[in-house]
Point group: C2
């Protein structure tokens, strides 16, 4: 199907625009919403009526706007229910409870000494952790109108990664049956794009790329004010685009991927190339793909500390990583020409503001064609993937209420 | 402004969808259009009424659809007027006249021995060529409702290229005054994307990347059924994304761009690397950026002939170029996850079907993450940029008639 817009899609999109606008404002009036969204006052009033009817929006009493008589204030109805975001790896699970206005209520992290990859185990682990986090949020299962699970990959199968319990993809129906709750599974890159659209730079501009920098790296893309998902929900795998032709072996088994240079194991490998005997580079195999390992943000922290203490190899590693990142971001700018690049993960580390930011900015400006980077803002993202998957679950809930068409939610 | 959709935008988008659907069908009925677009019969009838009123659509008499009573046939009204596409370089100018149903009527090519870069000269050249091509199409200036000019670059300034008469950007108002006709200028990548949306793979699927392969290279991107333009209309500069970190010097003066490998001068440079003394590689400077020069499709033809005659260096060059292209396309697949990649330019050469296609396909499949390339079609594009700029000028005309909102036409 090509990009057909029916009038139902239009209503659906307008409702989402009003909900997002209300979330951004906190409290607002129909008139302010009309001004903020560009919709007519009549359209906004109709939409608000629908949203009030389904309890998504609540009235807050009379607001004085300074001019004319007071009008009724509106906000998202936080007490409409609870939504839970879940992030799961084979030894790590995190669950966060939000209210229906995406306010965070409680988070639980769980780790396992052994790999949890069998369907039964994964499902059981999720159910137990969910009960714990709900208790902490003083919520009951019946309050939950949606559970969103973050899982890498497209619609059919995940990106090859050692940390993915594929079992969820294969046994999603069982998970739904076990929980007796609506479950939506989506790709973390779509979640960070959605978070950026609802809560970040997507509030101000129409074209944003949110860049995740951790063990793995990827991009959440917003174009024309909408999340870019692609044919099979697999868009945004910038981490597996090419930085160096026939370059380093990536954990995805291809060569020269961006991730092999700016993912955390890649940074450690850069250190090993610069200073082969460096204590922080111990055990790095310069030939093989990076093994799974304890190469989390503690490496970023240790490198930052070493750089502060005058360790020249650490400084050189940070700066070379900044050059790699800048070059890889320039590719995004060349292809997508966004107003804003919103960086996440290790870019938020203190060392970033000192050493990485200026190099990245210069490299992006130098490497981007034409005027593509002229007015580009490179900033730190204020959002997280958990907020995004919660927003996706809220969209799904609105769909189940008949307020939103399926068209906007291709996630499972 | 974030992605606000007003009801006016919706009507506008629906009208364009109906026009495109009618163009695809040739002749159609209201009922068939409703089926093809997913719009309600009522909406289609209202839209058709508006389009009939403004002469964009004409009735063709009664059509028998086989069931029930005959209904009125509809088609785009080719005689509504003429639209002209213009492509201009500093020594080459091409102008094509289309009818209002985008049927090609006449083309004129003009060359100049000397560089034509001064505003006066460029404008004069365009005006003379326009009169010639209109005469050949048996049309008058007053028949012309739009002129579309293809020019590289974003909204503020062009991509740095030796072949761009920047004068047009700087003196667009003078050109409009001189011609006394509506002139729209847009980037060739937006034109090939628009052509693909109106006349190519964009009719079948929502996410397409049209890849232009000539002296320069670039991508026209369709996502969610809409042309991706980016913040400053500069999206799609895939040719200036990175293929080889710190690699070959590109004519844009950066290093390692895709264009430096799969643009025609890049192919010639690959030949010079493989066989330094090869007659077809004469004069290639392996250090400097490629000079402007006679490196057009004649090189592609000569290499194809040489390969046919068993020239191993020519075969190796073609195959290595295919590897470069495949790797660079895999980046597009990783980031954008399209259903279709539509190739243009040298990919359409006979040698392509023999040697390049299988290597590119294998490399894209091998290099794309997850399932992003699983159902990907790589095909030859049936459209050209001239059709695209004519379609953009037609959109602009519909805007001037009040049928389409400005939102969809950020082009100048």
């Amino acid at each position: 199907m090509s990009g057909r817009l029916t009038s139902r899609d239009i209503r659906s999109e307008s409702r989402l625009v009003v909900v997002r606008s209300l979330l951004a404002a906190g409290e607002s009036t129909r008139g302010e919403l009309a001004e903020a969204t560009g919709l007519s006052l009549g359209t906004v009033s109709t939409i608000v009526q629908d949203l009030l009817k389904h309890g998504i929006v609540a009235e807050t009493g009379l607001l004085s706007t300074g001019i004319g008589r007071p009008t009724t204030g509106l906000r998202l109805n936080a007490d409409r229910g609870r939504v839970v975001g879940v992030y799961v790896e084979d030894r790590y699970l995190e669950a966060t409870v939000f209210d229906a206005a995406l306010g965070e209520l409680a988070t639980v992290e769980a780790t396992s000494d052994e790999s949890v990859a069998e369907a039964d185990e994964v499902i059981d682990w999720i159910v137990r952790t969910l009960d714990t986090v709900l208790e902490r949020a003083q919520a009951k299962r019946e309050d939950v109108f949606g559970i969103g699970i973050l899982l890498p990959g497209g619609m059919q199968r995940p990106v090859k990664a050692a940390t993915t319990p594929d079992a969820i993809w294969l046994h999603l129906d069982r998970l739904r049956d076990t929980l007796g709750l609506p479950v939506v599974v989506d790709n973390p890159l779509k979640a960070i794009a959605t978070a950026e659209l609802w809560l970040g730079a997507g509030r101000r501009v129409a074209n944003v790329v949110a860049v995740s920098l951790g063990f793995g790296v990827g991009a959440g893309i917003i174009q024309n004010g909408a999340v870019v998902r692609g044919a099979t929900n697999a868009a945004g795998e910038w981490g597996h685009s090419l930085l160096v032709f026939d370059g380093r072996r990536c954990q995805c088994e291809r060569k020269g991927c961006v991730e092999a240079y700016v993912g955390i194991p890649g940074i450690r490998r850069t250190l090993a190339e610069i200073a082969p005997g460096h204590p922080l580079a111990e055990g790095v195999d310069l030939v093989a793909a990076p093994a799974e390992g304890p190469e989390g943000f503690d490496l970023v922290a240790a490198l930052a500390d070493a750089a502060k203490d005058g360790d020249r190899a650490a400084v050189a590693t940070i700066e070379r990583s900044a050059h790699y990142l800048g070059a890889a971001l320039a590719d995004i700018v060349a292809i997508l020409n966004p107003e804003v690049i919103a960086l996440k993960g290790w870019a938020g580390w203190p060392v970033w503001r000192e050493r990485v930011a200026p190099i990245v900015r210069r490299r992006v400006l130098d490497d981007s064609p034409g005027d593509a980077a002229a007015d580009l803002a490179i900033e730190l993202s204020p959002t997280c993937g958990m907020e995004g998957i919660a927003a996706i679950a809220l969209e799904r809930f609105m769909r189940d209420l008949g307020l939103v068409t399926t068209r906007v939610i291709p996630a499972l």
